[in-house]
């Protein structure tokens, strides 16, 4: 009798409990669903294209091709030339920097491109079309300048670009349009008088430029601190991450204008001849740009552009750089 009851109880427990728990008493989990999980930040920034071509000795890199004896009349480009293709398209494509005042910047209010480089590009555009307003800009970082030409995205690059033999193997250059020099920007409070006083300290320059290479090779052994854009250097210096910035003096002058607590050291580390970069496939465009440069240097337009953009920030207006041709 007792055994029967015990058996009945067990049967009730097993037969009743298990199906009941399985159907309506199962433990309810509430994990965060896959769609509710956050997306972590992307850690790997895309690799930047630097100048990786082997260095080569090309003699004087600043020598360019001689302009045509008679420049084509604006609006009437010689048939079959690349210039005619540009004219047919209706606009000149130009790559510029936008964070290098007074050379290249975008006005925050109007959104218009402005600066010394932009004015040079405008002069080339006017010479092709006979009127202004036929230049379209694409903003590039320093490391993107050579790829922009090589990939045919733009016709010319006017972006504080230094001529050297290494780059000459990848793109063609016009005659020098501005004779800059690599100098050093420090805080007013810094005792440094030259790069030689900055051994072991961090010195900032944009990645993929001659400036960062020169910092790395300096005998005083400063620590190179590469960033994406020029202005990231000023941010780094204002936040105490670097002791100095070393790049073209015109760039440094723009930074000095943005932060009066800084000064540009007088020592010039190396001349930085700036030129317009053009594809090696369009020698007629290079000769044409050289013709435009020769004209504006001669007729005073170059001086007017300098005074309207750079002004007196670096002392008296210098003479335009000479035109030097290899043929």
């Amino acid at each position: 009798m007792k055994l029967r009851w015990a058996l009945a109880t067990v049967a009730f427990a097993v037969g009743g409990v298990i199906p009941l728990t399985a159907v309506s008493c199962g433990t309810v989990a509430s994990p965060l669903s896959a769609a509710g999980q956050p997306l972590p930040p992307l850690t790997a920034a895309p690799a930047r294209a630097g100048s990786t071509a082997p260095s080569s000795n090309c003699g004087d890199a600043t020598l360019s091709s001689r302009p045509p004896v008679t420049m084509p009349i604006p609006g009437k480009m010689p048939a079959g030339s690349y210039l005619a293709a540009i004219a047919k398209r209706g606009y000149l494509r130009v790559a510029v920097n936008v964070d290098v005042p007074p050379f290249g910047s975008v006005d925050p209010d109007s959104g218009q491109f402005a600066g010394f480089d932009v004015r040079i590009a405008e002069a080339v555009g006017r010479a092709i079309f006979g009127a202004s307003g036929h230049v379209k800009y694409r903003a590039v970082t320093n490391a993107e300048r050579i790829p922009a030409i090589r990939d045919g995205d733009v016709d010319i690059v006017v972006a504080t670009m230094t001529v050297n033999c290494e780059r000459r193997t990848q793109v063609d250059f016009s005659a020098v349009y501005y004779e800059a020099g690599q100098r050093v920007l420090v805080l007013n409070s810094s005792p440094a008088k030259s790069l030689g006083d900055l051994g072991g300290q961090k010195v900032c320059a944009p990645a993929g430029t001659t400036s960062i290479q020169r910092i790395a090779q300096a005998p005083s052994r400063p620590v190179p601190y590469p960033v994406t854009n020029d202005s990231d250097c000023l941010v780094a210096m204002q936040n105490g991450q670097v002791a100095a910035i070393s790049t073209d003096d015109e760039v440094l002058a723009g930074m000095q204008q943005q932060d009066p607590q800084t000064r540009v050291l007088p020592q010039s580390l190396a001349p930085e001849p700036l030129a317009v970069a053009i594809s090696l496939q369009h020698p007629d465009l290079t000769r044409f740009v050289n013709g435009v440069l020769a004209r504006i240097k001669a007729d005073g337009e170059w001086t007017a552009i300098y005074q309207q953009t750079v002004g007196n920030a670096l002392g008296p207006t210098p003479a335009p750089p000479p035109n030097r041709y290899r043929n």
């Binding site: 199962g26 989990a29 669903s33 956050p38 925050p108 854009n229």
Partner: protein, 439 residues
């Protein structure tokens, strides 16, 4: 009748004084009716007490788990999500305001200020509730880095007003800090609370809680029935009213507990499926959308250097599409609040695609900015408001479900304690009546 023989089959054929005789005699004494009844009364009282103990333990465990979710992990998960949301919104808003030009529009500045205020307020509330040591790290990052972020934004604004390009560089730095450091810390907070909610759900719905109630309730009931059968055979009285009442009480309280557990479980499931899950999914969608929007603004502000942001925007949009698909597959009573989300996002996406194309065109930059501000921003806000409504609806449902699950268990512990104590007393009283008859 005083020493009535328990079982007819037991005889005295063993000689007196032997060990065997003594053993049998003891067994007989123990099986005399009052002795047996006393044993039954104690046994039944213990069985009822055990049922009471089990039900108290299981009800309390569930109740505590729900209380923890209602007042601790639930609100702090929502707070962590709000912090994440508000900070993403601040970052996207400030980038959008930058696109406009030198002086940001007053509405955008006010929206940014509001977002930062919301985030810091939630952070203070979280801090006040006392946080476990594991969360010290992320909370320190949040409270330490938000002021750094706002400082960078102010420097960006001041420089932008002066027309200095370094303003854009400061903005990029601020956004990098937000996306790479501050928001992951907020994610850690939310993940911690999500784990706690998961654990709370498990503790509030253990399968063995009802199983234990069934086993112990069944044992108590079986005992009660067995004793009543025994009594009716031994004493020839059909009904023992107190025992019948105790049986009814035990049955009713066991069934009541099981029903309450099932109802609580169903309510919690509803809260999960129609509250918690849609809330987390749509909140994630909103955060992803804000990130993609900020990326677009930053890409335009960076002018030439937009590739990093475009890559991030692509990854974010791909993820967002998965999340939106998951969100629209959810269904439930608030499904209507989520119905338009995918279409609104597609609408914005088509504009942002056009913005991207014209920005990379030579000379198309100004058009891209005009398109992003004129067409993209209102479309984005339409999506954002829909997402906000959907998140709020799901949030409300989640907390309403938690509180109704709580109220199901609310008076159960007291009710069953009273009923089972009464049942135990009735058992003792009912058997004592019979035992007394033997004196």
């Amino acid at each position: 009748m005083i020493f009535s023989v328990a079982s007819v089959g037991v005889g005295f054929d063993a000689p007196a004084g032997t060990v065997e005789h003594t053993r049998r005699w003891r067994r007989l004494r123990a099986t005399t009716t009052p002795g047996l009844l006393r044993k039954c009364s104690v046994g039944l009282a213990v069985a009822v007490a055990m049922l009471w103990g089990v039900s108290l333990a299981t009800i309390t465990a569930r109740h505590d788990a729900i209380q923890g979710m209602r007042h601790d992990s639930g609100p702090s998960f929502v707070a962590a999500q709000r912090i994440h949301d508000a900070l993403s919104e601040a970052d996207a808003t400030v980038a959008g305001a930058f696109l406009v030009g030198g002086v940001e529009p007053a509405t955008l500045r006010a929206a940014y200020d509001r977002s930062i205020a919301t985030a810091t307020q939630q952070l203070v509330d979280l801090d006040r509730t006392g946080v476990p040591a594991r969360l010290r790290g992320p909370l320190t990052i949040l409270s330490g880095q938000i002021p750094v972020y706002t400082g960078l934004v102010e420097r960006a604004r001041a420089n932008n007003r002066s027309g200095f390009v370094i303003g854009a560089a400061y903005l990029r730095k601020a956004s990098g800090l937000m996306q790479n450091t501050i928001l992951p810390a907020a994610d850690q907070l939310a993940a911690f609370d999500a784990d706690r909610i998961h654990a709370g759900y498990m503790s509030a719905t253990r399968w063995y809680h009802p199983a234990l109630v069934i086993v112990f309730g069944g044992l108590a009931l079986a005992g009660l029935v067995a004793v009543q059968v025994l009594l009716s055979r031994r004493t020839h009285r059909i009904l023992n009213v107190p025992l019948v009442a105790a049986t009814v009480l035990v049955t009713v309280s066991s069934l009541l507990i099981l029903t309450a557990f099932a109802a609580e479980r169903a309510t919690l499931r509803d809260g999960r499926d129609h509250g918690f899950v849609p809330m987390t999914v749509v909140a994630q969608a909103r955060v992803l959308a804000l990130r993609a929007w900020a990326d677009q603004s930053l890409s335009l502000i960076a002018r030439g250097d937009g590739a990093v942001f475009d890559t991030d925007a692509d990854a974010t949009a791909a993820r967002l599409n998965q999340v939106l698909a998951a969100g629209s597959a959810l269904g439930g009573p608030d499904a209507s609040t989520r119905a338009g989300l995918t279409a609104s996002w597609r609408d914005y996406e088509s504009t942002s695609g056009r913005v991207r194309r014209s920005a990379s065109d030579v000379g198309g930059f100004q058009d891209a900015v005009a398109l992003a501000l004129g067409d993209g921003t209102p479309r984005f806000h339409r999506f954002d408001q829909q997402a906000d409504t959907a998140v709020t609806a799901s949030q409300r449902r989640f907390s309403a479900r938690l509180s109704s699950a709580d109220s199901v268990l609310g008076s159960l512990a007291v009710g069953t304690a009273v009923a089972l104590a009464l049942a135990a007393l009735l058992v003792l009283a009912g058997l004592q009546l019979r035992i007394n008859e033997y004196r």
